[in-house]
Amino acid sequence: MSTAILQERQDQMCRTESGSKFSIVCDKESLAGAISQRACVFCGSRVVLYPIADALHLVHGPIGCAVYTWDIRGALSSGPELHRLSFSTDLQERDVIFGGEKKLYAALMELIERHQPKAAFVYSTCIVGIIGDDLKAVCKRVALKKGIPVLPVQSEGFKGNKRDGYRAACEAMFNLVGTGDTSAIPAKSINILGDFNLAGEIWMIRELYNRIGINVVANITGDGRVADICRAHGASLNVVQCSGATMHLARMMENEYGIPNLRVSYFGVEDMAESLYSVAEFFKDKEVMARARQVVKDELEKIYPQLMAYKKALNGKKAAIYVGGAFKAFSLVKAFRLLGMEVVMVGSQTGTEEEYKELQEITAPGTIIVDDSNPLELSSFLKEKEVDIFVGGVKERPIAYKLGVGFCDHNHERKEALAGFSGMLNFAKEVYSSVMSPVWKFMPRMEAQND
């Protein structure tokens, strides 16, 4: 492969070929000096728990971890907005020397007094893992004193990668599950796991479930509420989106409460429709299934003419995808196909071997599949494949823009709803607005091609 790739990383990427054996190495620690796009354990925990809007989220550590995660997700709340504030113990040198427990206790007492949250999550950071503050003990003391759940999140940045952070977040939430009253919950009820209500997406999805006759107990965690999570064990089914973030919670709930789970995705019309059908199928209720069919039909009728107009313009354009979890990439590949576009590169920060295999199966021969990539590699792929649009997050954006390539933000900072049926239309519009812009015509890359 090209000079952009460090030898140690060669086996973390491949090009799909029909018939040949597929192999990729993943779930590795990032290579030092490779400029990984990954973050850390803390980041994983923080993104999962962030949307729980009536909880206090206190970051125990020096200021950086808290300030870089202040109001960074587009996760909306229909009520309280405590999650949009950034709380920190802002540890100073003397705290590092003498321990931060006293400060943590005092900060928690002060903030709980001030904001009256329904629960508090206390995030551990790198340094807390080293100085050895006993988070559990402090949280327990405060919980007793204040009468709310105070939950330590074992999210020391260096103790693994983002996926380990998801796990720590799930474990913290699992302490809440099972503590609420479930008597009023109807039989046909589900929890939505793994949607974070970016730009109000979970509201659209809840509405679709309601329309087919399914009740939603807890949003985990988009527009999340502590009390809902406490009674989440009363639902009959966990519907889980996204590969890593909340699967661990679903598994724990299955073991402890016997609640089965379904994996779904809400991106793209195919996957959105499939989500409704699979939930309807689970409840083995003809009426629910009939309603699901009707909802899908109605929604498709609404968006189809416009979608086809976009398809006409976008047909044959090339897309590249680099996202956090590989699961989202499946839906994106399908969504691009619906728009008549070809995916020529797809990668993720934390995909599993299974997921990459599945990606290989649904992409065209010659597609580049890559794990834990970096700007240098991504730039070389964009250029080699003459990509028209790159889908990723903020860190990927300048890679595309610097080379004069279109971009669509599909990360947690976005302000556009891209899930559900109307989300597919928004997605098409986003892609269209970037790909069809005349500005690319003037870029050096195009001029070089035309010479």
């Binding site: 030092a32 000096g33 870089y68 340094i127 903020v394």
Partner: protein, 479 residues
Amino acid sequence: MTDNHAPVRGINEFKNTAQSVGRAGGKRRQAPNYISTTNACKLCKPMGAALAFRGIEGSMPFLHGSQGCATYMRRYIISHFNEPMDIASSSLGEKHAVFGGGPNLKLGLTNIIKKFHPRFIGIASTCLTETIGDDVPMLINEFIRENESASELPALVSVSTPSYSGTHMEGFHAAVKAVLKTLVEPGQGEDMINLLPGFLSPAEIRHLQEIVEDFGLRGVVLPDISETLDGPALAEHELIPRGGTKISAIRAMGRARATLEFGRTMADSDSGGSWLARHKGVENYRLGTPIGLRETDRFLAVLEQLSGITTPEKYLSERGRLLDSFTDGHKYVFGKRAVVYGEEDLVAGMTSFLAEIGVQPVLCASGGKSGKLQEAVSEVSHDLSLETPVVQEGTDFYDIAEQTEALKPDFIIGHSKGYHLARKLAIPMIRVGFPIHDRIGGQRLMHIGYRGAQNLFDLIANTLLDKKQSDSEIGYSYM
């Protein structure tokens, strides 16, 4: 030789006013004794170091710590500059935290050198590696010894930036000083001047270079992010963005005629200019960031002295037009009350300018804790302001919000993270400094010199006029 203030009119004026602080000085409202921090008005120390390192030719900033630090900072910086911002990391895992991060630091350096061929690597520590006790300078020396046979190693500079001590600005200055301490070389005197401007925008660095050149001086700006964080559209991905202070020029900085360093609140211990003065005998002129009329006058006065020429006509014209616009617009801004927040030196500079145009700064707030902001604010504004502003150091947006609601300002001026305040109070916000995450063009904000003051004056006056016009029931199309 110790630091010298330039014996010119600007500086003398500065000295005289400093004595009157007690009489007309600002009042320090004691920050409420909160334990927790809510919505910090500062960033962490390694962030500043990474930014400073980005302004050196062929440089790769490198954080010795866990992967998350580098990634979070990249995201934060990218969102402001809309430019690629690579920061390498030693990506420490659990075993490294126990047994030491040395091997991964060296592996990271090796990989960066192999893939990016940098001419410079700036290594900043993080709270993790400071706390586990990694001795980075020693590790780097080992690395250099182990790689002696390598054809040419990049310049390796390390700086200690534990995030539990100081803000991004201390990290920025410490990185600049570390670069100087590591790289300056003895030799023949050079007919050049050093410029240590602190954290200015790429557009401001370009303007600074233009001014110095127009005075016929050869200036070396450290760090120089004018191209590295505001580059052109490209056909080919650059391994490392072009531009940055040339390493050969940095090596000569110990032999320059003088240093001009911006920053009234910078600690002496963090000052690269002081270090050059003390150890290399380079005369240091410490000035306020040239924001507004008088701070720019002071800056140009020093340039006049160093160049031996009078201020070029171009700048006299700009100054004249600025004054002319002051008269055109003075009524629309007079008596308006402003809350100023952000980095301490930026706050001091903005306060200086606001006081000049008759805006009343009512709160000057920063998450930094230099202990000098009070004095700086007083020095630049006490003879102009009718009211003494509240000055708060070491504060956060929770405190700022509390104060702001009580002080009822007409507008706020600072970076994007104050937006929620402006929104809540339904007052305008003037975006200055870092980060600008809710607008494009953060890299092109230009607020220094007379030209920058003109930009600011027009922006502020028009923002206030716009507010008045929008709020008006009638809505005239003239003023």
